[in-house]
């Protein structure tokens, strides 16, 4: 069997065109990773020098490493002091004094804290607003409706970009919810619920407040809520630099990279079952003793090619990122530093879990494409038709983006690739859905992967039966 697989691989890779295409896609994806996930990163160092791309990532890794520690009351207090020091260093004090007047030292102290004196905050806001109108400059404060929270927008620095970086630095580890809540060992933010007539009624959304809305939580059975609470309680409370892990995750979750790999797989495998008829080899093979093994060898080759392409691509991405910045701290909570990718957080996962889950889903998306391509190749005995049909199969969900789909698209490989729908706090309806079967809780992504395993076995069984003897059609 090993020899047959080797020959099947030769049939595929003996073509110069296919080899060049492989190199083009795999290396092209590295360029794309750099373009989308590295090039746009910028940071400002202590000397107010603006850094970009690789340099910025290396600087940020060092910066966040300096903030590492276990998030507890002491850590938060230390960070608060560091933050004030940083603010003082970055702020344009002359301009700020002009805007905030006598309140300036006070603002520096109370900045980004909750439960402030509403009277004081209201007074600061009104005075500053008046001054800004007189000076004809934008209003630089954020506050809440009941005047219990105040935050400086830090507009008054010599360079706006520098301010923005400083703002981001402190928005990372000290976001008010849910990261701090989860990591702060002294806080208890579990989801509270009661069961009425076998229905879950949520009393307090707890840590899930910002990413699982109330109405969605109530749709889940008790087991799911317990599962979420359990994960919350067991999360790591250490904070450290996850710049490398985040960059790797960003590269892996770039669906364009995997879409190109899908197209590569389609081109490589569209001829896998039809090559014999195309080259008139079917008449030789039909009267060969090991004929039945050829089909099995082809099926295994399809799986090997797909897994190898996935492994090479993952290896290249890992090598590329680790060349830029060390990939470390995979066991800490997957909170992505905001300057690398704002608006995304994966609070209930460690980076290791996130990378493994994302990787497995991508692998199954690629496998689903290779299964469909090879089965169509077997069914139609035509490489052009099988490749076009698979491409349409991959592209179909794109037609329905932002529209109501006629049927569930989650099982389509393109949807499986769209990593921003995975476990993220902004998407609650796709793979992030938790499904309860019996007493056990499963992620929808896992169910979809298992679904493809079953579909693959059935489709290949069909291929095996079809490719029995008497295949000569000419």
């Amino acid at each position: 069997m090993a020899k047959m697989i080797l020959f099947e691989l030769k049939k595929i890779f003996k073509s110069k065109f296919k080899l060049i295409l492989c190199a083009f896609v795999l290396l092209g994806n590295l360029w794309m990773s750099h373009y989308y996930n590295v090039q746009y990163i910028s940071a400002v160092n202590e000397n107010k020098m603006e850094l970009h791309g690789v340099e910025a990532l290396r600087y940020l890794d060092q910066f966040y490493s300096d903030l590492k520690g276990t998030v507890n009351a002491t850590y938060l207090k230390d960070i608060e002091m560091k933050k004030t020091e940083m603010l003082k260093r970055f702020m344009d004090h002359d301009k700020s004094k002009e805007v905030f007047g006598e309140y300036y030292p006070m603002i520096l102290e109370i900045n980004d804290k909750e439960n402030l004196d509403p009277e004081l905050v209201k007074e600061i806001v009104e005075t500053t607003e008046k001054t800004c109108k007189q000076l004809n400059i934008p209003f630089p404060l954020s506050y809440n409706d009941d005047y219990t929270y105040l935050k400086i927008d830090m507009l008054y620095l010599t360079d706006y970009k520098h301010t923005r970086q400083a703002f981001w630095y402190f928005d990372g580890p000290l976001q008010s919810t849910p990261f701090m809540q989860i990591l702060n060992e002294e806080e208890n933010q579990k989801i509270e619920y009661i069961v009425v007539n076998n229905q879950v009624k949520i009393k307090d959304t707890g840590f899930a407040d910002s990413f699982w809305p109330y109405e969605w939580l109530e749709k889940y059975p008790v087991q799911v809520i317990d599962y979420l609470n359990d994960r919350y309680e067991n999360m790591s409370s250490s904070y450290d630099s996850t710049v490398g892990a985040t960059t790797l995750f960003n590269c892996i979750s770039n669906y364009m990279i995997w879409l190109l790999n899908m197209l590569l797989i389609i081109v490589l495998l569209a001829d896998v079952f039809s090559t014999e008829q195309r080259h008139k080899m079917d008449q030789y093979l039909a009267c060969a003793k090991e004929y039945k093994k050829i089909t099995m060898a082809k099926i295994l080759t399809v799986l090997i090619v797909t897994v190898t392409i996935f492994a090479i691509q993952m290896g290249l991405l890992y090598g590329f990122v680790s060349w830029i910045v060390p990939i470390k701290n995979l066991d800490v909570q997957a909170v992505i530093p905001n300057c690398l990718m704002p608006l995304r957080r994966f609070d209930l996962f460690t980076f290791k879990e996130l990378l493994i889950r994302t990787g497995i889903t991508v692998l199954f998306a690629l496998l689903s494409v290779s299964i469909v391509t090879s089965v169509l190749s077997c069914l139609t005995q035509n490489r052009i038709f099988s490749s076009i049909a698979t491409m349409l199969f991959v592209a179909l969900p794109m037609v329905f983006i932002n529209n109501t789909t006629p049927f569930n698209m989650d099982y389509f490989p393109f949807e499986m690739l769209r990593m921003d729908t995975l476990f993220g706090n902004n998407i609650r309806f796709g793979f992030n859905q938790l499904i309860c079967i019996g007493e056990n809780v499963y992620y929808k992504a896992s169910i979809i992967c298992v679904g493809w395993v079953i579909a693959g076995i059935l489709l290949y069984l069909f291929c095996y039966l079809k490719e029995r003897r008497h295949i000569v059609r000419s």
Partner: protein, 292 residues
């Protein structure tokens, strides 16, 4: 050793490609003669078991071949009319692949490949990609793959097409030797290919087996039907329209014609018949002038 065909029939739509064929083949070279579309290739595919018949069976050593097909194919070598290859494989790779799918052991097939490459004069081309080989070389590779498993039944569908005279003679000699121990069934349009080596000849026409006998017996049937006539141009033209003319030679103003005819040619001399005469006698109605 016996390969028996009983009432073998194959129909494609309304066309009957093979019509109730019956044959009993034993060791030796059996030439299969017939014009295009006479059903030779179809019958060969059915003998190989790769094309199902509409009715009838093929038996090897009194056992229906499809009942123990794995055992049957171990004794079978087949070279189809339309040669197929993986164009990017080298000759060596192709033969190794065919050996693997035939279930041969590595120690055996590596030696066998060496032997066949040498015998078929392909040694220098072992590393050449198949897509770069000439038509004649491709035929030789096709023959080589059929011989890899030292088959007891060798089915060769037009093996000499595209070969130069030297290659043809070399292959003929090889087939002749193989026929001492195996059943070799070979089809061809080139009558001279089987004339010297065939122990028996099958003549097929429109799916039916017309004759199956030794060349000597078949030629006996042609006794008194082949004439040589020396005549002028005008007479030659008349014979060419009225009779089956196998050959025409011109010498100055005289024409020497070789004629096959049931009628007595009065100004001709009766001569010994050959297989070309036999072929034309049976297939004259299907042979077009362009074939010459």
């Amino acid at each position: 050793m016996e390969l028996r065909i009983e009432e073998l029939t194959k129909q494609f739509g309304k066309t009957v490609a093979v019509d109730h064929a019956n044959l009993s083949l034993h060791e030796g070279v059996i030439g299969l003669l017939g014009s295009n579309g006479s059903g030779k290739s179809t019958m060969m595919k059915m003998i190989c078991g790769i094309l199902p018949s509409n009715s009838g069976n093929v038996f090897y050593e009194n056992e229906e071949i499809l009942k123990n097909y794995d055992n049957y194919v171990m004794n079978l070598g087949y070279m189809p009319q339309q040669l197929g290859f993986y164009p990017n494989f080298t000759v060596q790779e192709f033969l190794e692949y065919m050996s693997v799918v035939k279930g041969l052991k590595k120690e055996f097939y590596m030696k066998k490949i060496e032997e066949l490459l040498m015998k078929l004069n392909l040694e220098e081309k072992r590393k050449a990609k198949i897509k770069n080989l000439s038509g004649g070389m491709l035929r030789r590779v096709g023959v080589a793959q059929a011989l890899l498993n030292e088959p007891k039944i060798l089915i060769l569908d037009e093996p000499t097409a595209g070969l130069d005279p030297k290659e043809r003679i070399s292959l003929r000699n090889m087939i002749s030797r193989l026929g001492e121990e195996s059943i070799v069934l070979l089809s061809t349009h080139i009558v001279s290919d089987i004339e010297s080596i065939a122990d028996k000849i099958v003549i097929m026409k429109k799916g039916k087996i017309l004759y199956y006998d030794t060349p000597e017996n078949l030629l006996k049937m042609m006794e008194g039907k082949v004439y040589e006539v020396v005549c002028d141009r005008k007479t030659a033209e008349r014979y060419m329209t009225e009779q089956i003319v196998v050959n025409v030679k011109k010498h100055h103003d005289q024409y020497t014609l070789r004629i096959v005819s049931d009628e007595v040619i009065e100004d001709g001399t009766s001569i010994e018949a050959g297989l070309d005469d036999l072929y034309l006698y049976h297939f004259n109605d299907e042979v077009k002038l362009e074939d010459f």
